[in-house]
Symmetry: C2
């Protein structure tokens, strides 16, 4: 399909207005289009292909860890949602309600799932009888709805796509291990496939998922220094099992309540990628999830042999398993360069008459702009190498960003001083464990608790807020 | 995960009560579980894996024909649904309405998409400007909701999973060609991947999709002689384009309305597979979509070497790309045989001490029950051959069923006589083209018009109902 010849309009510079830069990119890289319903977006082919790649890679990791996919209904009867007290209190205020079906008012209203714990629990109560039925390791890919007041594409939308894992175990120990294992799966996925380093940790009591005993999370840091929660895993203990009567006969013939977990990541990851790796020319898409890994651009394509050679190269790379696009439209080479920079295609491969003479092409990296002539005889290896180098480089740059923007502070004044001097970022500071201090820090600095990192270290023996004995190191930060 | 030892309960014989046989299978083969909301089902891992295989294979066919995936919002504002008159009249009576979001009554109610023509049209009006933007060949995988009064698992549910293709073209000719091309894609998919022959044809005026100029369909015939519409494609002309203002500047600089199509298949295909291929022992799953293609069952597994050899065979087949499961649970071999027959696994591979001595295993076909000893040295080729043979055989049996149950009739009396003598089936009979005759035939015989087949033949020059000049051959039949 030929694209209409259009100018690649400029985007707002990243350091001028980060929020506008972000929304410019989601529109101009053709990731989304707004719809008539606030907070619901059209995910366009280029954006959806990124999500499909995320799905494929994560789904592989879930299968390798023994999980199976299922599909639950999208509607939850109000009485079912109400079964677990903390859960309903957390979610009821932000759900969409179906009150009419066909020609009739419903006798009981149905909410559009904001998350599916209650549906999974109802199902598990039906199918789990014995220790032999455990563990149950289920996952679901679907869309969910949360009626958010403020919305932003990918980051906070009323409808979003996600996966939700829901597992049932015979013991608390196994369930906790699952919660930690899946957090590792998420962290590895972010590092290896999204080239985005994350901090692993535990949420504070006040930040837990509604109904959970403990919530674990991975926190990433965006280019502007704001944190982004990229994924969470929850340990439920036997609270849901008691509310939903999920019991099994154990090996010792005793009837016991089961222990559960849930865990999820969402299309928000696409927002995280944009804000981690993008620059003033647009997106930079990690090679593993790039819809197009290599764009082939013929130079002086009207000249004899140029298009033929370009097609040959495209075919060879495709046959080797790369995701390749040849742009042989009549747009200028300059227009094409800007267009695929905007879309963040990792490598641009230029082929002109002089290259053909030398049996080479010129490969340009999206992250550094570096150009290198590459022999067509060694193309596969060079492309693999350059994609790997790019992936490593954007990972390192993100890691540098975290290092440069992580401040260790001993008091609230020091926190404010660090933030005003260096801009937003992670603040490492000690905490006494008291929710009042947590609130006070947030009020005075704007930085909330992000997580209690697994990698603990004592940077002081006093709470950053009240000065009493510190219990734990916390990462604080402003967040998306 | 070890399954609890359970008895494989008997299912209702297929010829005793086809409807009960069907619901017994969907439950006992663990395809679905009912949920608390009428007409919404839990699709369990085994059933969902069939759908994932269908998705993967169809998605490949859609990509090969140049289509791209997108994701549209699940909510349609009432005013948007109302934009195309015939469309809203067809769908409004059976939609679910969201009237409340979070803590507020909505100022405009939103329907949960029953189909997404209106959403695609709104988007297309935004992004299509020039002939260079055409064609747009989009597809979406999602769930949709239609508030049906009578529901049956897979066949008619209030929520179901499907794909919906939506395309835009510069000319009517191209759009019609797309409608026909995608019907061919569906028919080939049914034949090759589901081993289910179908009749291709056009719906009558009264049976068209709401808002379409023409609807094409593929019709399958179930074992009980009832027809099942397995997929549809719709040509819209420029009706939606006019209602939604989808215009483009053509090569001649004139501004024109675009021409559109849509097409879809649903989880109903799983119902079609059950009723086409299943038997009194349970499911028979076509090899291409089988979650498990080969189940390996150790015989006398406590004897030395049996489990080791079974695992070796499992590993070899997996490495060759087959979907394989080893059942080394402590259930009896007899129980396992019945369990995997119920689940319709195409091949069962038995390995016992005597087989190991002879360097062989015994392979049992699900469709015929035929047992053959197979040398372990030639295992891959034998498994491939047997899966192919099974696929051909169940296709041929379905085709035989169509042939045996297709009656050509010259009058309504003959139709009734054929149906009461031979049972339900397709009736081929001529029609004058008048909707009143169509209704009258249905009223007098119970057999509605299924389609005007592409393969026309004149079996009489008179309408089966009024006796006036016949216009066309029609397939009639009772349908799911």
């Amino acid at each position: 399909m030929a694209g209409e010849k259009k100018l690649v309009e400029e985007i707002t510079p990243r350091d001028t207005d980060f929020a506008r830069w972000y929304t410019d990119i989601v529109k101009k890289a053709e990731l989304i289009e707004y719809s008539g319903v606030k907070g619901c977006m059209v995910i366009r082919p280029y954006g959806y292909a990124m999500w499909e790649n995320i799905q494929r890679l994560l789904d592989g990791r879930f299968r390798d860890t023994g999980h199976e996919n299922v599909y639950m209904p999208m509607f939850i009867p109000e009485s079912l949602l109400n079964k677990e007290k903390e859960h309903v209190e957390g979610f009821a205020p932000e759900v969409a309600w179906v009150t009419r079906g066909g020609q009739e008012e419903l006798t009981e209203r149905l909410c559009v799932r904001p998350t599916s714990e209650t549906l999974f629990c109802e199902h598990y109560a039906n199918i789990i009888k014995s220790y032999r039925d455990l563990p149950k390791l289920y996952n679901q890919w679907c869309s969910v709805v949360r009626w958010e007041k403020t919305t932003r594409p990918f980051l906070r939308s009323r409808e979003f796509l996600w996966q939700e894992g829901h597992t049932v175990h015979a013991t608390a120990k196994e369930a906790v291990a699952e919660t930690e294992r899946m957090l590792d799966v998420y962290a590895d996925f972010c590092a290896e496939d999204l080239n985005m380093p994350v901090i692993k940790g535990k949420k504070t009591e006040s930040d837990k998922f509604a109904g959970a005993v403990a919530t674990y999370c991975i926190e990433a840091l965006m280019h502007d220094g704001k944190a982004l929660q990229a994924g969470t895993t929850h340990y439920f203990g036997d609270g849901f099992a008691k509310a939903f009567d999920i019991k099994f006969t154990d090996k010792d013939n005793a009837i016991k309540y089961a222990h559960q977990t849930s865990w999820g990541v969402t299309t928000r990851l696409i927002g995280a990628i944009i804000m981690s790796h993008g620059d003033d020319s647009g997106l930079v898409v990690p090679p593993k999830i790039a819809p197009v890994q290599v764009v082939v651009i013929p130079v002086a394509q009207h000249k004899e042999g140029v298009l033929d050679k370009s097609r040959e190269v495209e075919g060879r790379l495709k046959a080797s398993g790369f995701r390749v696009k040849l742009d042989d439209s009549d747009n200028s080479a300059g227009w094409k360069f800007a267009e695929y920079e905007m879309k963040g295609v990792p490598l641009r491969l230029e082929i002109g008459p002089k290259d053909i003479e030398k049996n080479q092409c010129v490969v340009v990296r999206r992250d550094t702009g570096e150009k290198s002539p590459v022999s067509l005889d060694a193309l596969d290896g060079s492309v693999t190498g350059l994609l790997d180098d790019l992936a490593k480089n954007i990972y390192e740059k993100s890691l540098e960003n975290i290092k440069a923007r992580t401040y260790t502070c001993g008091s609230v004044d020091e926190m404010n001083a660090a933030l005003s001097k260096n801009g937003d970022g992670f603040i490492r500071a000690m905490w006494c464990g008291d929710a009042e201090c947590e609130d006070e820090v947030k009020e005075k600095t704007g930085a909330g608790s992000r997580c209690i990192p697994f990698e603990q270290e004592s940077v002081s023996d006093k709470c950053v807020c009240c000065g009493k004995k510190a219990e734990t190191l916390i990462y604080w930060g402003k967040a998306y």
